[in-house]
Amino acid sequence: MKACLLEATAIEKSFGENAVLRGIDLALSAGETLSLMGPSGCGKTTVLRMIVGLIKPDRGKITLFGREMTHPEDDESTIDLKRRIGIVFQGGALFDSLNVGENVAFPLRYCLGLTDEGEIERRVFEVLEQVELPGTESLMPAELSGGMKKRIAIARALVHEPDILLLDEPTTGLDPQTARHIDRLVSEIGKRRNLGILAVTHDLVTAIGISDTILLMDRGKISWRGTPEEWKTSEDPNVRKFATGLRPVRAGRTVCP
């Protein structure tokens, strides 16, 4: 049986009068990839931010690596657990003042406390090769394209060898070719490292391409869950409604040539 890395049970969250999450349950195991889909504003990113402790739930329970982290103590063991998670933010969140090499080395220096520059350089080089961007160490984030930023952000999230990878809209704003490139990278690295991956996405092609399980959120709840194959044949009205969004506005035009 695979180890359960992350479990969220009956998570609820409101911002003022607006109840964003109304009882979310999900579990993620090592080597498993979940995609959390749903319309804009349905609370997908809120779930992700709760897992890394940026937002506290009003009710419910979050367990990371077997330890309850709903309202964690601000101590070293909590920080150590947080460091077993790598996160890729929607815009990449690369540090503007640091070059690519320094950005990717950041978790090694400040999470793992590495001081051996040779070791840091080697690990940065390795992970940049994995995301197929070797030799970009000296570039500044402002010099990168959207797709490169995403890949550097993935490299930074993976360099300290986390057990969980959280992805917030990994392919949003990218052309289809770059988006599929990212999907392939995530899929390959996830399998190679036996990572638990939770991807928040609007992109159905990404969700079907990389996931073991797809979760569809609607009005603060998970309204449907199943495999990509089950998604394709599902008659669930929410699934159909979401999938309808892929149809072109003018009748008779097809998305794929």
Binding site: T78, K82, R83, Q90, A93, F95, D96, F106, Y110
Partner: protein, 258 residues
């Protein structure tokens, strides 16, 4: 009734902001000793606050010293008190003008840039990324900037003393007053406690500049507009607090309450 509600709202906002700055300062100060922050970032901030402000501090201080001499020299000559002119210019610069001007200039030059940088980090999730890495974002970003303000403002103020008094001296000697008269008067009137008081003020202003800039950056929101708003608020608050603390510290240090 409406005016009281409006005034009450302003008063609550004012004290809320002061409370927020105080808490932020405490967290940044604690972070200096307990938090993780980058030594490289500290050297960048020291350079940013100190070295990059030298030119603008030079210009401001030199002209201020000269203007003080221009405005006072005739009165000193008329009352036959030219023996005091160096000391009076020196005291004015050291006790008040240099720390305040340096504070205001650094607020505009560096505080605004710091607030814009940090608010941009807020809206692009860079501060969230720090937290996600298990770091204390206030310590990581705020502590090096606090140290830079605390260290560099007094150093810049010493520099401003020299340039400001030098500016006054240059004008005075070109008007026929002997340089020895100027320097003797400076020596007679200026005491170490004046210099200490001026530097203490500068250290306070350094804390104010970095705290207001970082704190406003941290609470920025609302996209690009939020960056502009945070920068404006940081500059306005920093200037107001510098002027208010200048009065409070002047009263305590030089106002006879000792």
């Amino acid at each position: 009734m409406e005016i009281f509600r409006w005034l009450g709202k302003i008063a609550i906002g004012f004290f809320e902001t002061l409370g927020f700055f105080s808490l932020f300062l405490l967290k940044s100060a604690r972070g200096i000793f307990r938090g993780k922050w980058s030594r490289t970032d500290l050297s960048k901030q020291l350079e940013r606050v100190g070295v990059s402000s030298i030119f603008v501090v030079s210009i401001t201080s030199a002209f201020t010293g000269m203007v003080m001499a221009v405005q006072t020299i005739d009165q000193f000559v008329r009352f036959g008190a030219t023996n005091y002119i160096g000391g009076v210019i020196g005291l004015s610069m050291v006790r008040g003008m240099s720390p305040v001007l340096t504070g205001l200039v650094v607020t505009g030059r560096v505080g605004a840039a710091m607030a814009a940088e940090i608010s941009s980090m807020r809206i692009t999730e860079q501060l969230d990324a720090l937290q996600a890495f298990g770091l204390d974002d206030v310590a990581f970003v705020g502590s090096p900037r606090l140290v830079a303000g605390l260290v560099m403002l007094p150093l810049l103020t010493i520099y401003s003393f020299v340039i400001g008094i030098g500016g006054g001296y240059l004008f005075v000697v070109t008007r026929g007053i002997h340089s020895v008269t100027f320097l003797k008067s400076l020596e007679a009137l200026l005491e170490p406690s004046d210099i200490f008081g001026g530097l203490l003020k500068a250290a306070f202003f350094g804390i104010i500049i970095s705290t207001t800039a970082c704190a406003e950056g941290f609470r920025a929101g609302n996209g690009a507009i939020g960056v502009g708003e945070a920068t404006t608020r940081a500059v306005v608050w920093s200037n107001m607090l510098i002027l208010a603390f200048n009065y409070i510290l002047s009263t305590i240090l030089f106002g006879g309450i000792r």
